[in-house]
Amino acid sequence: MSTPPIGRRGFIKGALGVGALAVAGCAPGGSGQAVPSKLAAPSATASTVKGEITIWNRSGDLFKVFDAAIAKFKQAYPGVTVNHQQVDIDAKLANTLISGTDVPDGSFWDDAKIGGQAEHLYDLTDLIAPYQDKTAPYKISVNTVDGKIYGVPWDLDPGLLWYREDILEAAGVDIASIATYDDLLTAARTIKDKNPASKPIHLDKNPFLSQLWLEMLANQQGTSLTDASGKLRLDSPEYKKIFTWIEQATGDGLVTHAPYLEPADVNTLDNGQQVFVPWAIWWSFAPQNLLKATKGKWRAAPLPAWTPGGARSGVMGGSSFVIPAKAKNPELAWLLYEYLCFKDEGIQAVYGPNSVYPGGLSTSVPSYLPVLDPAKPLFQPIEALGGQDLWKVATEASSTIPAAAPIPWWWAQSVDYLGNNVQRLIEGKMSPDDVIADSAKKIQRNLVDRG
């Protein structure tokens, strides 16, 4: 498929003294391809395509959901055999791409990891072109490297403001009045006045998640850690605004600082100490499965805006599908992902009611805009949210999400600096200016400059 890259080959040969081992002839991965492989649409029709593909997914409930959806794909494409495997993707995919052996035809992957491995992946720009305008701009931007799209955008994870409806009502706070983050502080103060034991706002204690959360608040303002050219843009009014807000919230004693859904978090969510959780849609899992005392009392609203009239949501997390450059049947993998991400039937198979989630998959929404119709829900109203129509809230919020930029390869590594400094800020050990200066300096030196 790809010609052995001369540069790499020479490099190994040099190491071995003119390739003493047969190994020297091995061309690692799809590496060094001067022109990344570009995938074109298959010409055969659904009933005539034939072949076998290997598809990797993470283990867990989501695997079962995809398994059921793939069964439906096979009905639509009877000639295609799908070998669907659950794999420790974080440990394996990058290594497999580098070695180039036994590479799957397609794999699920975190959006944050795609940018770093673009050279091993098919350029899907032409294939996605017909759907590009109809896909959430955020998802297109995180899957784009140097103007080319490398992932099939799967889920969109809008941030929402989760709140205790009963407590707000008792305190006389109208959720509709919380339109900005300042309003949120005001509401939190009102609640704390009524119940001094309350620390209404959840801020997360896990550095990785707190940085992911920070990016949600930045995305809401149309910015992100780096711009499209990879330049760091932490030192900006937008980030300053977020950090100052955190400082204010913690300074006023309005914050419960707890690790995501660990016992300390679950218990303070259940005992009324926490009232507001600004978090991605996947938090819906907590009231449905973990919270016993307050099940049915939580509701979701759009996030507050940073400026009056500003965007009411941002993205926190998310995944896409990639097709490795060494895939044996990339065209067929594309057909599967096109079906799962862009075809009504496939989207319905993933998000609609199924045997794993009887009410539908409600921990994210599709990123394909035509199906994000508030009036046409894919998943059902949720009992654990008092029968609230989460679909409507999430799709309305999603429509305001701004585009972002590709996520740099070192994003996860930067948690050691930025995520940790956000924790110091929450604990009152660091000022907003220091968070910016210290994180920017270290990320620049240890990550950006070493790219």
Binding site: F11, E119, P263, D416
Partner: protein, 289 residues
């Protein structure tokens, strides 16, 4: 009649070197070459000379990771040697009742899968709802942030390593104890030597070789350790459990392979020095090691 030929020792060690030639030489040379380049697993590797080495040596993070590992070493190795030796002596004693039970109890953690047991650690040492703090509260002591304070995170992680690998130390030391003949003890008892003195003057010198082995192997293990902090703390809080091995793992998991390779060779130099020191310190008086 076969006599000893010059070839014999080479034949005896050859299987190892055959396997090493097949599966060790290539990766080793590749890694060494990689350490002078910048390569992220794709595209052409760029030659950077000693750039990766000088970056690491001037990086506070690198030195912090060595410092963290050094503290872990102090918390693990001496305790393991002393406790392991004490346990081994007791478990070797035929007069100990419930001997089989104690043997199983101390060695059992060695067979447990780390990924599952790490979850136990996270739950049992939870600051607010863990068993350990619950017990502390019962006797009127305040909560301790076992995994959330930079003071306690290393001891808590060290405890996991001690819990899981002391069985290993016991096995090594038990094998060493078999060299201690019972008659030596009887002679010493007749002299009226106290049990404690017996232990220090007889047992310890005789198992010195095993102790040296244990110290070297555990020193290597502690400085290469990455799975324990990775699954329990991800290096936190605030990098306090970012060990040398985990710091190296981070480079490799980010596909920053050149830096990872350079980091590995710096670690080799370090552990080589440390092992040499340990062997010298524990060298028996007869000069063999």
């Amino acid at each position: 009649m076969r006599v000893r030929t010059w070839l014999t020792p080479y034949v005896f060690v050859s299987p190892f070197f055959l396997v090493f030639a097949a599966f060790g030489v290539y990766p080793l040379i590749f890694a060494l070459q990689l350490s002078f380049t910048r390569w992220r697993g794709a595209g052409e590797a760029t030659f950077v000379g000693l750039g990766n080495y000088s970056y690491l040596l001037s990086s506070p993070d690198f030195w912090a990771s060595l410092g963290n590992s050094a503290v872990m070493w102090v918390l693990i190795v001496p305790i393991q040697v002393v406790a392991g030796l004490g346990a081994a002596v007791l478990l070797a004693n035929a007069k100990l009742r419930l001997r089989g039970f104690f043997r199983v109890a101390f060695i059992a953690p060695f067979v447990t899968p780390l990924v599952a047991m790490a979850q136990v650690w996270i739950v049992v040492f939870d600051t607010d709802y863990g068993l350990v703090n619950y017990l502390l509260n019962l006797v009127g002591l305040p909560d301790v942030g076992w995994l959330t304070s930079t003071t306690w995170s290393k001891p808590t992680l060290a405890l996991l390593v001690l819990w899981k690998t002391t069985g290993f130390a016991i096995i090594i030391l038990l094998a060493g104890l078999q060299a201690v003949p019972g008659q030596v003890y009887e002679a010493a008892s007749l002299d009226g030597a106290s049990r404690w003195r017996q232990f220090w003057s007889l047992t310890v010198p005789l198992v010195r070789r095993s102790i040296a082995f244990l110290v070297v192997v555990q020193t290597l293990a502690v400085f290469q350790m990455f799975a324990e902090p990775f699954v329990v703390t991800q290096g936190g809080p605030y990098g306090s459990t970012e060990t040398a091995g985990l710091y190296l793992f981070d480079h490799i998991s980010a596909s920053d392979l050149g830096t990872g390779a350079a980091n590995s060779f710096l670690l080799v130099l370090l552990v080589f020095g440390l092992s040499l020191g340990a062997v010298r310190l524990l060298r028996p008086k007869d000069g063999t090691s």
